[in-house]
């Protein structure tokens, strides 16, 4: 056939990325991915490539991009060490349902299995930490495999997909014939919603006197924020949010109780063990949310909406399981629900919010004379950006504090490593988030430990002039571990003190503006200058090493056994 165009596997990949609407590729080159990078050179104008300073940076950046844009993040790496450097990001993306299409170079097919230079078993290694992983051995398979990768990564419960692209298939030519993948017989991403559980859920909710909604990342993934608010308002049910679900409902919404779980807001955790019906949407009852499962919401009927069937009855038994996309489920549930009012129930919870304000929030966020607390920094930074920034966090105290004290007005505004808790996630994820939404402010909260895990990505920020506001909550400790050591190891601070560099000098080496905040009275002005600054900015804030995050539900305790400081248990 005369009009059949023969092109290389690498060229094919480029064309498909364009067809799939890929805006950025995050990557790092090397021997086994050279043909792909050579093809990319010819497509520079079409597919911008972000060269990070480490492959881990590339994959977390792709995650940040995916989390904010809702589209798959695309990653390139070479074989061997390039691919192994991606594994943490794969596991992170799997745990947090983040769509990624990861393309790793691989040695020539004739060398596979012969321990060739930089050969590793990428498929074998990645299978347990990806949604799908496949090795492309011939050019004829490229179109099929890449189409499938985009489809699998972005549909159903999203997740990371790996294509291990052999050098042979990158170079060989095949006929250019691309069809996006729209269905697989072995994979049903969108379950057919059943009317029976919807009706049962409506009966429970309509007769409930103390309803509670717990909403998670699934709401954001399904873009069901509007539906969530509609359902909550119609039945007048307070809403608790998981860490990844934080921006699914505006913080100022009258029904928003705040965050659920270990360091969550007291009213949510108390309500969990008092509600008569819980509507859990797109959340998976993670153990950091539930505490001791045998004491979790035993009094409540539980309605669980999830797109992933394997989440039902995994840790908390569901009385009604609705296997569906969150938006579709809420849309179909809404007309079945009776408009209701639960003023008494909301009033019952109010004193818990007031108590938390008094016992925890006030002391944490008020300006002190002696030292600076993280909560004070986060709440002021949040306000300085009109509570409207995209908040990216690293892992540790900085993460819990930014989750607790940031406020949100828009969806898709929290980017944090929830399921895996990957230190080093924050800085590269902020890069991806900023590229996805250059029109929005991106604020990154970091600890001094996590910062130094991927600090080299300051180079990427410099290169691309990315306007990211970096707030370093610097306590010269691995703070979160230190808190645990203070609570459970009689203050034996084993391997948690950090000898830190001069972070200002580091910022300046990358041409990034910075400021040091040593004393509480410097804080407000410094934040104002950071907010006014155009371009990247590092605010290094000297945090009291004794500053710890409360409230806490200790692992193994019931969710409503809450400590408001090291010694005092919340008495309700």
């Amino acid at each position: 056939m005369a009009n059949e165009e023969m092109i290389s596997g690498s060229e094919m990949l480029m064309r498909i990325l364009q067809r799939e609407g890929v805006e950025y590729v995050f990557g790092y080159p090397g021997g086994s991915i050279m043909p792909v990078y050579d093809a990319l050179y010819r497509h520079q104008g079409d597919i911008p490539h972000i060269l990070t300073r480490h492959e881990q940076g590339a994959i977390h950046a792709a995650e940040g991009y995916a989390r904010v844009s809702g589209k798959p993040g695309v990653v390139f790496s070479t074989s061997g060490p390039g691919a192994t450097n991606l594994v943490t990001g794969m596991a992170d993306a799997l745990a947090d349902s983040t769509p990624l299409v990861i393309i790793t170079g691989q040695v020539d097919t004739e060398h596979l299995g012969f321990d060739a230079f930089q050969e590793t078993d990428v498929v074998g290694m990645s299978l347990p930490v990806t949604k799908w992983s496949y090795q492309i051995r011939k050019a004829e398979d490229v179109a099929w495999a890449v189409a499938r990768a985009f489809y699998v990564a972005s549909t159903g419960r999203p997740g990371p997909v790996v294509l291990d692209f052999t050098h042979t298939a990158q170079c060989a030519k095949a006929v250019w014939d691309y069809h996006p993948c729209t269905r697989l017989r072995s994979y049903a991403p969108v379950p057919e919603i059943q009317s029976k559980p919807l009706a049962e859920a409506a009966v429970l909710l309509n007769s409930s006197r103390k309803p509670l909604i717990l909403a998670g990342h699934g709401v954001a993934l399904a873009k069901a924020e509007k539906q969530l608010a509609e359902v909550a308002e119609k039945i007048d049910a307070p809403v608790g949010l998981t860490l990844l679900g934080l921006s699914a409902l505006p913080s100022s919404h009258p029904l928003c109780l705040g965050m659920a779980g270990m360091h969550g807001n007291i009213p949510v955790n108390i309500a969990t063990n008092q509600a008569d019906v819980i509507l859990a949407v797109g959340m998976r009852f993670d153990n950091r949310v539930t505490g001791a499962t045998e004491h979790y919401a035993r009094q409540a009927k539980i309605i669980h909406i999830d797109i992933d069937e394997t989440e039902f009855n995994k840790s908390i038994p569901a009385d009604v399981a609705i296997h569906a996309d969150a938006r579709e489920a809420l849309d179909k549930l809404l007309p079945l629900l009776r408009r209701n009012e639960h003023a008494d129930w909301r009033a019952e919870l109010k004193p818990h919010a007031e108590a938390e304000e008094r016992l925890v929030i006030q002391p944490e966020t008020a300006e002190r004379e002696d030292c600076i607390h993280m909560g004070a920094v986060v709440s002021r930074v949040s306000a300085a950006f009109g509570d409207d920034a995209i908040v990216v966090t690293d892992v540790g105290l900085n993460q819990m504090m930014s989750a607790r004290y940031s406020r949100f007005t828009q969806p898709d505004s929290i980017v944090t490593s929830g399921g895996l808790g990957t230190m080093g996630f924050g800085l590269p994820a902020a890069i991806g988030a900023k590229l996805a939404r250059p029109d929005r402010e991106v604020v990154l909260f970091l600890g001094d430990g996590g910062f130094q895990m991927t600090m080299q990505e300051l180079g990427t920020i410099m290169e691309h002039n990315l306007d990211i506001k970096i707030v370093l909550l610097n306590n010269n400790f691995l703070g979160n571990v230190r808190q645990m050591q203070a609570m459970f190891c009689e203050r034996r601070f084993s391997a948690t003190p950090l000898a830190n560099p001069d972070f200002m000098k580091i910022a300046s080496a990358y041409g990034i503006a910075s400021e040091d905040v040593e004393r509480p009275e410097q804080l407000d002005d410094a934040i104002a200058r950071m907010a006014a600054h155009k371009g990247a900015f590092l605010l290094n804030v000297n945090i009291d090493e004794e500053n710890m995050v409360f409230p806490i539900t200790r692992g193994g305790d019931p969710v409503d056994t809450i400590y408001v400081n090291l010694t005092d248990r919340y008495q309700g």
């Binding site: 299978l127 017989r185 394997t310």
Partner: protein, 172 residues
């Protein structure tokens, strides 16, 4: 802890066995037996896995297997829901059979059959449940058993058609 059988139907792709095995390994579950073969449906592979655990865990495992992108279906059965067999081969020295009339009796009693006779050895085949192949093993042990192998389980459901056929009719 009961013995469960999980039957898995998958696309014919590389690495499925690996994925299935991972799901067991991660939960510290031991696969007791495994057999893999093309199924009666073209392009579809069939895995039959037996494992000892509790029902809730095995249900979860079956659903996790089915969640893998290339897996069409995974079904969970207890022994009462299926008809199943294993095959075992036993190699005994030929002189035992020739000199010892007991061996012949044992073969007959166990409904086993002889596959091959050479001057050195005799190969005996027995199909049945694990208990059956095991019983013969226990007896032949006393007659200088040279080799013994047992297959994984093969199983069919007690219904009239492959459950998967109905699934495929609705999904192709």
């Amino acid at each position: 802890m009961e013995l469960y059988t999980i039957t898995v139907f998958s696309e014919n792709q590389v690495g499925i066995l690996n994925q299935i095995a991972n799901i067991f390994t991660r939960r510290g579950l031991n696969i007791e037996s495994l057999s893999v073969s093309p199924s009666s449906i073209e392009g579809v592979h069939k895995f039959i896995i037996t494992c000892r655990s509790d029902r809730a865990m095995m249900q979860r495992v079956a659903r996790l297997i089915e969640k893998r992108v290339d897996v069409l279906k995974a079904y969970l059965y207890t022994d009462s829901e299926i008809v199943y067999q294993e095959i075992a081969l036993y190699k005994v020295p030929a002189d035992q059979l020739l000199d010892n009339s007991n061996v012949e009796r044992v073969i007959r009693e166990h409904n086993a059959r002889i596959l091959e006779i050479t001057r050195q050895y005799v190969i005996i085949e027995k199909t049945g449940h694990t208990a059956d192949t095991d019983a013969l093993f226990q007896e032949l042990k006393h007659y200088g058993l040279l080799q013994f192998v047992r297959s994984g389980r093969v199983a069919v459901t007690k219904g009239t058609e492959e459950q998967l056929t109905r699934f495929l009719l609705n999904h192709t």
